[in-house]
Amino acid sequence: MSAAIREPRGRRPWKPTPARLGLYAFLLISALFFLMPLYVMVVTSLKGMPEIRQAHLLNLPAAPSFAAWSKAWFAACTGLSCNGIRVGFINSLRIMVPSVIVSILVGAITGYALSFWRPRGAVLLFGVLIAVAFIPYQVFIYPLVRIFSYLGINNSVPGIVVIHTIFGLPTMTLIFRNHFAALPEELFKAARVDGAGFWRIFGAIMLPMALPIIVVAVILQVTGIWNDFIFGLVFAGRENLPMTVQLNNIVNSTQGEREYNVEMAATLLTATVPLVVYFISGRWFVRGIAAGAVKG
């Protein structure tokens, strides 16, 4: 990113030419298009149902109330149980924390082993990993369900952690391999000369130097695993359904009158974690996308 920022910096004097006005008009309209759904979700979640039916969806709430938020959190129903979306929130945390740690650890070790030690077959293994990053999950899911139920880890938190490790491996290996491959070879050789072995070089030299890429990996995995729907649906089991799956159940299995304010509050609650990660991480988020997107 830092490579080529064009020289003139600082504020430009304001010259309202027609082209300049058109440019800002287009950017403003685009910004409104991107912000509108978030705005509508927020105002809907703060209204009562009568107001939602009478006024239209862009109106500001007459008397903002967090009743829908509290109902979404504590008492929204999925099927027969009405314990709120907090159940999914806790499940998502229980799934996310070990999945993030394990998937990053496996990816970092694999990337390290592939970049410095180059065992036989490294190119082939790396090729397989990269290819999988592009293949639809549907190709793998059914046999994995069978294997997991044979091993007795289907419908369990360990099972879904393994799944996130399996499908996080291509990206995680890629970003760590690329990071390590960019480090000077001399560093590695010097450590070898000093008698450090495989794990010592990893723990004492490579891992501390990989701190920036670990941050990127955490951002990628936290948002990716939090936002996952399909794996949670298939592998987590009824007791551990993540927040996205529970949210979809709340909205799509409602019997009788639908409460749009509660639905929107639940939706916003589900979006909170990735949004917070996004706004805190800022440019790091973009780095994550770039790191995951650049191949080879």
Binding site: S30, F33, A113, V128, A133, P143
Partner: protein
């Protein structure tokens, strides 16, 4: 290499090797094998050749899914590329509040497809959504009920997906634009070439790598399209917004037709390989790409 280190290397690669052999290659091979059997609820080992594929070819739900994903894929990739590139090019004109604008364009990408789908489903609600805004503003003729119109519903998925991903394209393109040699802009100014021509004929060809990256990322998300359809329309009305990934999932876990589902998954695999292989080849043969 010392014996200990060699052993450690192999030990370190054991998880990845196991995953590659069992979860990737093994599972893929198994899926392909099942697609040649007469499996229904449970896998069977009775080989039936291409029978699953021929029944897939006449399955109305599958044909609708394929048609939908073709429309969706082309429109979504084209619109996300155009909008993303325009936003990047405009932001690159040293505008005020650049980082605020970037955050606004990219934030949808951080959210899940489930959230995206539910938000747009509410916005496009035929009775209380945008249509009602139009009516309340006195536009009695205003109609925007595409969500419940079978022949239009796929375009609502495109709309939501473009909203979700245009910022990603913008981020990639902005990085690409910042990598364009400033000398080129000087030359353009000296020669008095209009900006739009400079972008179209000089800058865009220079940014082949960024475009290839964006197209590959978008194409992968097209092939995986599942959550958005589930959350926004659940394939409806009727089967009007079914997509291949959802066809596979439904037949695996609800309709108990594993043979047909794996035939569909294998077809997806072949299609993805056929579309992505040339793209990847094209991107790899670029001379030394600039870092994003």
């Amino acid at each position: 290499m010392r014996i200990g280190s060699r052993l450690s290397t192999h030990l370190a690669l054991a998880p990845a090797l196991l995953i590659a052999l069992v979860a990737y290659c093994g599972a893929m091979g198994w899926t392909i094998w099942i697609s040649f059997t007469n499996s229904r609820m449970l896998p069977s080992s009775v080989f039936v050749g291409l029978r699953q594929y021929s029944s897939l070819a006449t399955n109305e739900r599958w044909l609708t899914s394929v048609q939908n994903i073709a429309i969706f894929g082309l429109l979504f990739i084209a619109m996300a590329l155009v909008l993303g590139f325009m936003l990047a090019a405009l932001i690159d004109q040293r505008v005020r509040a650049e980082s605020l604008l970037r955050s606004v364009f990219l934030y949808p990408f951080s959210m899940s497809f489930i959230v995206t789908g539910l938000a747009w489903r509410w916005l496009l609600d035929p009775t209380l959504g945008i249509e009602k805004v139009g009516h309340d503003l006195g536009l009695a003729w205003f109609r925007f009920d595409w969500l419940v119109r079978p022949e239009r519903v796929i375009y609502t998925l495109v709309l939501a997906a473009v909203w979700h991903a245009a910022g990603l394209v913008m981020a990639i393109m902005l990085a690409g634009l910042r990598g364009v040699d400033p000398e080129i802009w000087k030359a353009v100014r000296v020669d008095g070439i209009p900006a739009w021509r400079a972008y179209l004929f000089i800058v865009v060809p220079l940014m082949r790598g960024s475009f290839a990256t964006a197209v590959i990322l978008l194409a992968v998300s097209v092939a995986r399209l599942y959550d958005l359809s589930v959350a926004m329309t659940n394939g409806g009305p009727g089967i009007a917004s079914e997509v291949p990934a959802k066809f596979v999932m439904d037949h695996l876990f609800e309709r108990g037709n594993v043979g047909l589902a794996t035939a569909a998954a294998t077809t997806m695999l072949i299609t993805v390989a056929a579309v992505l292989a040339p793209l990847m080849y094209w991107q790899y043969r670029q001379p030394a790409r600039r870092p994003l």
